[in-house]
């Protein structure tokens, strides 16, 4: 952002309401320092563990990028939780029968299709996205279960698993490449293009956007399609890393992803958000998971702590909005 000619007053204003924008970086730092001290003998600070955190959060980060677009437009996409599994299974099955390219296209296509279904219902039938995607979340959870009768499908294509999972390119794991590329492209589209500006305007004031010549339904369709496609990509990354696809993939990600996006400074009601914030939010959620496991917390305790953090994040988000 160019701020060269921002006046002193503008700076003052900017500083005043950026608490929510920066809270994620402070939170990330605080949690990192906490674990670094508490878990210094448990291997938290090793390069292997830290890079593991990034690898494990890659699918959630990719989904979070899509959700930033959705939430900035004032909508929500709950269906990503089951889109991941449908996409992974579609890719795994197609991969086995028709080869690599068909498999990748099937996975991304499944995500895109689900996104377009959600988007059409939200944009043109004008149903609330919360209800639409709550319904499709359940619907596609059922589809993913029936696709292979609950069976897990192995993914043995080494090109696929290398490209989307365990591969290394120029010394950097492919999952980190995917995260970096998705964040970079997402950030540029979100911050620096007319589309990104129109997404924000739509979430901020749909009527104003509409009378300004922005096609609000098209924006709504587009953000849902982006979210679905990125959930599809997340499905491919899971299938690549785990070398298998199963209906349980992504099942527990929904809450993590929503938390990452909100903690990252994207307002629940739209109009303001950050892709970089969502990345840091996602890494923070992953670090939290990792640290809590290293600390020896049970799964149930982890869920409680995560829930509390989401509550705190939502509280900050809503306070900022109503100011």
């Amino acid at each position: 952002m160019s701020s060269a000619n921002t006046s002193a007053v503008g700076q003052g204003l900017a500083n005043r309401f950026n608490l929510q924008q920066y809270v994620v970086y402070l939170g990330f730092l605080a949690i990192f320092l906490f674990f670094a001290v508490v878990l210094k003998d448990s291997g938290f600070l090793t390069v292997r563990n830290l890079s593991n955190i990034v690898l494990q959060t890659a699918p959630a980060t990719i989904m979070a990028i899509g959700l930033v677009f959705v939430m900035s437009a004032g909508e929500i996409d709950l269906s990503i939780g089951s889109t991941v599994a449908v996409a992974a299974l579609a890719a795994a099955v197609t991969l086995g029968q028709y080869g690599l390219v068909a498999g990748v296209l099937a996975g991304l296509g499944a995500g895109l299709l689900i996104g377009l279904i959600n988007g059409a219902l939200v944009a043109y039938v004008k149903l609330p996205s919360f209800l639409v995607t709550l319904a499709t979340l359940g619907l596609f959870a059922g589809v993913s279960r029936s696709m292979t009768d609950l069976r897990s499908i192995p993914v043995t294509d080494s090109v696929f698993t290398g490209f989307f999972g365990s591969g290394v390119f120029l010394g950097i794991p492919s999952l980190i490449w995917w995260t970096a590329i998705a964040v970079a492209i997402g950030h540029i589209i979100y911050r620096e293009t007319r589309f990104g500006a129109h997404v924000l305007a739509t979430g901020d004031n749909a009527r104003a956007a509409s009378v300004s010549g922005i096609s609000v339904p098209r924006i709504r369709l587009a953000v849902m399609a982006i979210s679905g496609t990125l959930a599809g990509l997340a499905g491919l990354l899971y299938a690549g890393r785990l070398q298998a696809a199963k209906y349980t993939l992504g099942e527990t990600d929904l809450m993590t992803v929503i938390a990452a996006v909100i903690v990252g400074g994207t307002l629940l009601n739209g109009g303001r958000g950050s892709i970089i914030g969502a990345l840091v939010g996602s890494l923070m959620m992953g670090m939290l998971n990792n640290g809590l496991i290293l600390m020896g917390l049970s799964v149930s305790d982890q869920m409680i702590v995560r829930g509390l953090i989401i509550l705190a994040a939502v509280a900050v988000s809503l306070r900022e909005k109503s100011r």
């Binding site: 007053v9 924000l200 305007a201 901020d204 009527r207 956007a209």
Partner: protein, 250 residues
């Protein structure tokens, strides 16, 4: 500034008739607005002012009658078409995106991009700064977020936006309804400065004092009927009030 014959009207409405499912909202409405002229549209609630604004801004199309812009008959089926004819509307709710910056609002829906297809922020900020200075809209900076501005500043931004894009006509719907005394004076100054830009202005206002301060001509509507048009300099409040209420037919 009285329009001369040489000045083609920027807007000419002829025998505009509008029905909504069998009910007449506007009948036989004719009006001309010339460049640099401020015409006030007055009338009681439900007189049809908003319907007229919507017809001129392309939201509704008239059931019959013609709209001409600079002598050319146009048909408009949406607000985008009206904008492409150089007509801008400042809505009563201002239609600003509160959480975005002033400069993004100035260019809402019409953001310039550079050769890479990326937003040309530098240009948006420079043009915003220039216009805000010319119109003397006192905002902290082009980067300020709309929700941090006062009501008068927001109105100023909305009018500045309309001014930036309107080549011919600006419709102002109750521009000072929500403002205090000082802010109203400031906004009226800005409206008057539009005359110098040779833009036609059609303003809806409930304040007759304001109408008499700003307008060159006053058009009175009552229950969808055009009661009459008066030159502001040659009429007085009593006559206009009588026309609005119908208590004394002219």
């Amino acid at each position: 500034m009285t329009p001369t014959e040489a000045n083609a009207p920027v807007l000419k409405l002829q025998d505009i008739h509008k029905m909504f499912s069998g009910i007449t909202a506007i009948e036989n409405f004719s009006l001309e607005v010339h460049p640099g002229e401020i015409v006030a549209l007055v009338g009681d609630n439900g007189a049809g002012k908003s319907t007229l604004i919507k017809i001129i801004s392309g939201v509704h199309s008239p059931t019959s009658g013609t709209i001409s812009i600079e002598g050319e008959t146009v048909t408009m089926s949406n607000a985008t078409m009206a904008r492409s004819h150089g007509i801008e509307v400042v809505y009563q709710d201002l239609a600003l995106a509160d959480q975005q910056s002033v400069y993004m609002n100035m260019f809402l829906g019409r953001e310039p991009v550079n050769g890479f297809g990326l937003l040309d922020r530098r240009r948006m900020i420079a043009e915003t700064d220039k216009l805000v200075k010319e119109l003397d809209v006192r905002i902290p900076s082009a980067h300020a977020t709309i929700r941090d501005l006062s009501g008068g500043q927001r109105q100023g931004v909305a009018i500045a936006r309309a001014t930036h894009w309107a080549s011919k006509l600006i419709l102002l719907d109750e521009p000072t309804a929500a403002l205090g005394v000082a802010e109203t004076a400031k906004v009226e100054e800005i409206v008057l400065s539009l005359k110098r830009r040779n833009i036609g202005v059609l303003i809806i206002s409930h304040s007759l004092d304001q109408v008499f301060r700003l307008s060159d001509r006053i058009c009175v509507l009552r229950r969808g009927k055009q009661i009459g048009v008066r030159e502001t300099a040659k009429t007085d409040k009593n006559e206009i009030i009588a026309m609005i209420t119908g208590l004394q037919q002219q």
